[in-house]
């Protein structure tokens, strides 16, 4: 197969797997945050701040992988 074709295919698969990992991680995070807010509404604001921070960190790792996919796709 043409190496370019394999690169495009790999970029597509890679992006799919990346979003799988990211959505799973952030989903678990959001579930824990919701539960904590439900149990103790007075700390809801602090939980929300920590949730946003953790989500941004997970997204950061996601974008590492996404950058590699982009490099593959624009070769």
């Amino acid at each position: 197969m043409d190496p370019k074709a394999i690169a495009y295919l790999a970029a597509g698969f890679g992006a799919g797997i990346v979003i799988l990992g990211a959505a799973f991680g952030i989903g678990k995070l959001a579930a824990a945050a919701m539960e904590a807010s439900g149990r103790q509404p007075e700390v809801a604001a602090q939980v929300r701040v920590s949730m946003l921070i953790a989500a941004a960190l997970i997204e950061g790792a996601t974008f590492f992988a996404l950058a590699i996919c982009i490099i593959l796709a624009v070769k």
Partner: protein, 305 residues
């Protein structure tokens, strides 16, 4: 002036380029509907030597690269450099205006009120919990980081604007400065000897040979993550918006336009939120790393909230 004679020529050249490109694309695809080139779309996000204003292209001054002892400096002004400078000037003017309005009354009104809201939020929620009272002397740096990144992120969402932080070299520069500040704050707080001793990680002397390179490498990963996070967040949002608009050109029909526009508006709102969030995350993580460096990673510190 330098621009007048060249921008007309440049506009003509740019139009000629676009016409030639579309003609070439149409010819290469055999006149069928697949004249859409994704790479051409990404040109909007990449750096270029001209800045777009409504109606014309302003060709920016380009200088020959200067070689100073083996290192090449290319100081020519490109689109992203232009927006870097513009962001700096805007931030300077806004800060001076806000600071001056405190001379009238200590109670801020209007724009100064907005800046005070953000500054107090950063001080009470980010700097004081992470770095303690000793961190207040680094507030100017952290506030500059926050507002500068915010202005640069938001510049990309304005018509005819470009995101300077969508260039990995810009975010790398910001991350290098953050790295320097983290080390400087750690050395100032703990003293050079203690800082170097921390690099060994408390292991016996025979493990130092492998421990020190690993620790030094570990020092670099955190700013590298800061750089990649900001760059990829900004670039990713723009790629999605450009791709959604590119769908209109790919299908070559007007029916796609309202659907595309609807999605683009949604992603645009998300990008607005991400611009704010990424500026906050960069600042918060920098202050967190500075705080960790200042107090030492293995010490107990009581947090008063």
């Amino acid at each position: 002036m330098v621009f007048e004679s060249s921008f007309i020529a440049d506009t003509l050249q740019h139009t000629a380029h676009t016409v030639a490109d579309t003609a070439a694309a149409a010819h290469a695809s055999g006149g069928h509907s697949e004249g859409f080139n994704f790479m051409h779309l990404l040109e909007h996000m990449k750096n270029s030597t001209s800045v777009e204003f409504p109606g014309f292209h302003l060709l920016l001054p380009q200088f020959a690269p200067v070689h100073v002892g083996g290192v090449t400096f290319d100081l020519s002004i490109t689109k992203h450099v232009f927006f870097l400078l513009l962001g700096g000037v805007l931030l300077f003017i806004a800060s001076v205006y806000a600071a001056r309005s405190y001379k009238m009354s200590l109670v801020p009104r209007g724009f100064a009120n907005l800046m005070e809201l953000i500054i107090v939020f950063l001080r009470d929620e980010v700097v004081l919990p992470n770095m303690g009272p000793a961190g207040l002397k680094y507030m100017p740096y952290l506030l500059t980081t926050f507002f500068y990144i915010l202005i640069m992120n938001l510049s990309g969402l304005v018509p005819y604007g470009a995101t300077a932080t969508g260039n990995i070299m810009v975010t790398a520069g910001l991350a290098i400065i953050a790295f320097c500040m983290i080390q400087i704050s750690a050395i100032k707080a703990k003293g050079l000897k203690h800082y170097l001793a921390e690099l060994t990680g408390g292991t016996p002397w025979y493990l130092w040979l492998i421990m020190i390179p690993i620790e030094i490498l570990g020092l670099f990963t955190k700013p590298f993550a800061l750089c990649m996070r900001l760059f990829a967040n900004m670039t990713g949002g723009h790629i999605v918006i450009l791709s959604l608009f590119g769908l209109i050109f790919m299908f070559r029909s007007f029916v796609v336009a309202p659907v595309s526009l609807l999605f683009v508006v949604g992603i645009y709102m998300l990008e607005l939120f991400v611009a704010l969030l990424q500026a906050y995350v960069f600042t918060m993580l920098t202050s967190l790393f500075m705080g960790l460096g200042m107090q030492g990673e293995h010490q107990e510190e009581s947090h008063t909230h």
